[in-house]
């Protein structure tokens, strides 16, 4: 009997606790604009996403120091969805309904984005997504500041086909088994077919998440490369690239024989790796830390100072990478759009975002496409240097417009280059 009563009491208590927890940080001050930061600070994605939270907070400090937005200071609301996808949706709903943020900067994996998408569309929120992804999506409530496949994967393959890049004739498409590699490889296969490469010269392989034993796969690559000049396109997820590269190095497969281009390996991922055996392998991004231009130099200095001031881990060796740059661009463009629209109302900001420009650390002036919610980005191919930085060996002549609906997937020719005006059916 006592158990029944205490059960109800305890349930009420925990509900009250949670409520208090929610109410406490949100002492609603009318003269700030709340901004949500939705990145995993624990769990498997913490490695990649923690720096995005930090760079977003740095941008907020920077904007506040310059007077804020519309005369009000920005107030960050940081939550930790812990690499748990349902928790992402719950936290997104909390940010939008409880904390009443004006905009959310967040997500990394496609799953997390797909799990919060219905929430943003239902509540008409605004999300800025800074990571390269597989495309095949275009939502009115999201601005995608990372690369679509035609701004990363396809130029990389074109480079490897060219004389400059080694003239590859056979291709190993190696990825972790999830949507981003599968979609990218599908697009690449269609692209290779269009360039006359046959299926017998394409080898598609997938490994599970967290796979670390690449002996067999490297041996297979060696065997496959005996049939002709081979290049490897790696969509291996994040830090699984490290054991892959180590195995490549140890088995003596050099970049001059079989070059490997990766789309998920940047300066941060190379931090934990002995880069000497990897010299010459490639990555394709829209930004590299080693790029020399005044905007980048200033930004890197600012980041180094911020990391030191906030005593972030790894402040002794501060690195910047493409998703950080995309997050930086995104939050500044949002600020500009709000000032242009003179309001933080979602629909007004969406309209004002069209055509926004910003001087990006990659050296170009980044432009937000007037219709398709993606940035025009220049593509850079970099080779790994012994010190873990990248040498830019090739770049596109100018910014490339994104094609979120890849022309290489059947049926995409019917898609429009702008978000559908669809709304969640509530009736």
């Amino acid at each position: 009997m006592t158990k029944r009563r205490s059960f109800v009491k305890a349930l009420a208590l925990s509900a009250a606790l949670a409520a208090a927890g929610v109410a406490a940080p949100g002492a609603f001050a009318q003269d700030t604009i709340k901004v949500g930061v939705l990145h995993s600070l624990s769990g498997t994605m913490a490695i990649s996403e923690t720096v995005l939270k930090d760079v977003t907070l740095m941008a907020i400090d920077d904007i506040n120091a310059k007077g804020g937005v519309l005369g009000k200071k920005l107030e960050p609301v940081v939550v930790d969805p812990a690499s748990n996808w349902p928790l992402f949706a719950e936290k997104a709903r909390q940010l939008l309904t409880q904390d009443k943020v004006a905009v959310v900067f967040g997500c990394w994996t496609s799953v997390s984005r797909k799990s919060v998408l219905p929430v943003f569309e239902e509540l008409n929120g605004l999300l800025f997504y800074p990571v390269q992804y597989e495309g095949e999506e275009l939502s009115k409530n999201v601005f995608y500041t990372g690369a679509a496949p035609n701004q990363q994967a396809i130029p990389a393959v074109e480079y490897l086909m060219s004389k400059e890049g080694g003239g590859a004739k056979r291709w190993v498409l190696l990825g972790t088994d999830y949507v981003y590699p599968r979609t990218t490889n599908k697009i690449l296969r269609a692209f290779l077919h269009s360039k006359g490469v046959e299926d017998k010269d394409i080898d598609e392989k997938y490994t599970p998440f967290g796979h670390s034993d690449y002996q067999t796969i490297v041996a297979d690559i060696k065997k496959f490369s005996a049939g002709g000049k081979t290049a490897v396109v790696s969509t291996i997820n994040g830090d699984s690239n490290v054991p892959f590269y180590k195995e490549l190095g140890n088995q003596g497969l050099k970049a001059t024989d079989v070059p490997v281009v990766a789309f998920s390996v940047g300066e941060e991922e190379l931090r934990g790796v002995d880069t000497k055996p990897l010299v010459g392998h490639l990555a394709a991004w829209n930004y590299f830390m080693s790029q020399k231009n005044p905007t980048n130099d200033a930004w890197k200095k600012q980041w180094a100072a911020y990391a030191k001031k906030m005593k972030l881990a790894n402040a002794d060796k501060p690195l910047t990478n493409d998703p950080m740059e995309a997050a930086w661009i995104g939050i500044h463009m949002w600020k500009q759009a709000v000032e242009k629209a003179k309001s933080t109302d979602t629909d007004k900001v969406i309209a004002a975002m069209a055509g926004q420009t910003f001087k990006a650390p990659s050296g170009i002036t980044s432009t937000m496409d007037p219709k398709n919610h993606h940035l025009h980005k220049a593509v850079f191919i970099g080779e790994v240097k012994a010190d873990g930085q990248f040498n830019v060996v090739w770049k596109t002549k100018g910014p490339v417009k994104a094609q979120p609906w890849s022309p290489f997937i059947a049926g995409n020719d019917k898609k429009k280059d702008e978000p559908d005006g669809k709304t969640i059916i509530t009736k």
């Binding site: 490695i47 923690t50 997938y206 599970p208 002996q215 067999t216 041996a219 790894n314």
Partner: protein, 520 residues
């Protein structure tokens, strides 16, 4: 590289006045011009040319304004005139070398080194050229063949000669070349012959080529089989190291330690710390010698602290131990994340663990894995000796078989428990040290190995080391064989299902021992 032929045809091997234009093209030109410049320098064959090419390959060729410099540390030499500069200019910039140029450089340098007096240098050049040879190098190869004394190098030079003749020369020469190539062991030759088959029209030549290809593929197949065996043993040795500590703590004490993965992770981070220390002291290549005992001790201490504070209160309640050690693992992960950061940390292989040994052509066995296999065997031997030849081991076995009797006879069971747990944790630390050489070191390292460790322990049965060894090797083989057949994901699933089914048939694992833990 056709440019190389033409250049060599028209130039002679006379002393070549450092043509400033060539060096300028090398430093400032477009990619095609750089390749031409490399060819010109190879054709010259002078020591200065070799020096410039080597400097470019090592990243020591810089530009400063319009000048081209070779910069070694603090001294700078003008590449075109040879004059030494007073100090290194501030505005020096690197010359970007991409894969294509690096490949050309590799071939060029190898060609220039073919006549080096050092045998090792000649061997490595000749191996390099097996894949990279171009017809323009024929004269150099002929010259080297004429003066070569070492049989192995001579054989490889003849292979290169044949490979080059395949592309040039009349029908008879090409036929002889194809037949000669049949005795090769190199996958590069296979590539060459496949290309030849594509381009060649003559039927006789094609059938000869096919015969040679078959011979080569037969030889290569042996290499692949050896490769599979090696990778299986390598995976098995890693599983063994990871699971051995768990087998001891669980088998001998009945404690299921969900924090075992984190003890592995702590061993890996200890290695990282030692590596940094040694790097600061300039003794980088020796850090592993210190890291091994350090990782053991740190993990053992952490394990013993855990045992004293948490686990000892939970004896006889294996399921609660499971849950509380899971909580410990969460805390350990977060603690490491707070101290070292969420990102992976860099643990480099020392020189002795880098690279590999080429056993058969095309089969390279990485040193790091060979060392780890040896290390696993060594640890196994030590544990065996410890358990069977020492007093501590005697007590541990006694407590396992009958705790009450051992206590009656005067064994301090509480202390033995602590030592045994420390031993198991220390071995986990050793596993972490080994893993740091081939895998990422990050807060989630332990999570990737915990399920595998459990499977090995459950499959092998508890109480006997032999079970763990057989289970680890067996799983290594099963995994690799299946992977070669069906891919990594299905292999892992199949192995897990096999274990589930196996346990239904033999619930106590392969080598069951009547131990305290069995009776739960």
């Amino acid at each position: 590289m056709r440019i190389l032929i033409t250049t060599i045809c028209f130039l002679s091997f006379n002393a070549f006045a450092q043509d400033a234009k060539v060096v300028e093209k090398l430093a400032f030109g477009e990619s095609d011009e750089q390749v031409e410049a490399v060819a010109a320098l190879v054709a010259a064959g002078t020591p200065q040319a070799a020096e410039i090419l080597q400097a470019l390959a090592d990243g020591e060729l810089n530009t400063s304004g319009k000048r081209v410099l070779i910069v070694k540390g603090e001294s700078a030499v003008d590449a075109q005139t040879g004059e030494k500069l007073a100090n290194v200019p501030e505005d020096k910039e690197d010359i970007v070398v991409n894969n294509r140029l690096r490949r050309e450089l590799g071939g060029a340098l190898a060609a220039l080194k073919l006549v080096s007096p050092d045998l090792e240098v000649r061997k490595s050049s000749v191996r390099e050229l097996l894949a990279n040879a171009e017809p323009g190098m024929l004269p150099i190869v002929r010259k080297a063949l004429a003066t070569e004394t070492d049989a192995e190098v001579k054989a490889m030079l003849e292979q290169i000669w044949a490979a080059l003749e395949l592309k040039a020369g009349d029908r008879a020469t090409r036929l002889a070349a194809v037949q000669k190539l049949g005795s090769s062991r190199s996958p590069a030759t296979k590539t060459l012959l496949l290309g030849f088959l594509d381009a060649e029209k003559d039927e006789d030549l094609r059938s000869e080529a096919r015969k040679s290809l078959q011979a080569i593929e037969g030889r290569l197949a042996w290499g692949e089989r050896l490769g599979v065996v090696f990778t299986s043993i390598s995976l098995g040795s890693i599983l063994l190291l990871a699971a051995l500590g768990l087998a001891i703590t669980y088998g001998l004490m009945g404690v299921i330690n969900m924090a075992h993965g984190e003890l592995i992770m702590i061993g890996a981070y200890s290695t990282y710390v030692v590596q940094n220390l040694f790097r600061k002291w300039g003794l980088f290549d020796w850090y592993l010698l210190a890291a091994v005992p350090f990782a053991f001790v740190v993990s053992a201490i952490v394990g013993m602290i855990l045992e004293r504070t948490v686990i000892r209160w939970l004896y006889g309640r294996p399921l609660e131990t499971l849950l509380s050690t899971w909580g410990i693992s969460l805390i350990l992960i977060q603690a490491v994340r707070t101290v070292f950061g969420a990102a992976n940390v860099q643990v480099e292989n020392p020189a002795l663990m880098s690279g590999g040994v080429e056993v058969l052509s095309g089969v390279v066995l990485p040193w790091s894995r060979i060392v780890i296999i040896g290390f696993a065997a060594f640890v196994l031997l030590l544990v065996f000796l410890l358990l069977n030849k020492t007093r501590l081991g005697l007590f541990v076995r006694g407590v396992t078989q009958n705790r009450d009797m051992a206590a009656c006879v005067g064994v301090s069971t509480a202390r033995i428990d602590t030592w045994a747990f420390g031993l198991g944790s220390g071995i986990a630390g050793l596993a972490g040290c080994a893993l740091s050489q081939i895998d990422n070191v990050g807060p989630n390292l332990g999570q990737s190995y915990i399920v595998d460790s459990f499977m090995v322990v459950v499959l092998g049965g508890v109480g006997q080391l032999a079970g763990t060894v057989y289970a680890a090797l067996g799983l290594g083989f099963a995994n690799k064989l299946l992977e070669a057949w069906q891919g990594a994901v299905l292999a892992k699933i199949a192995v897990l299902i096999f274990i589930i089914v196996f346990i239904q048939k033999r619930p106590q694992g392969m080598f069951a021992l009547k131990g305290r833990a069995v009776e739960s």
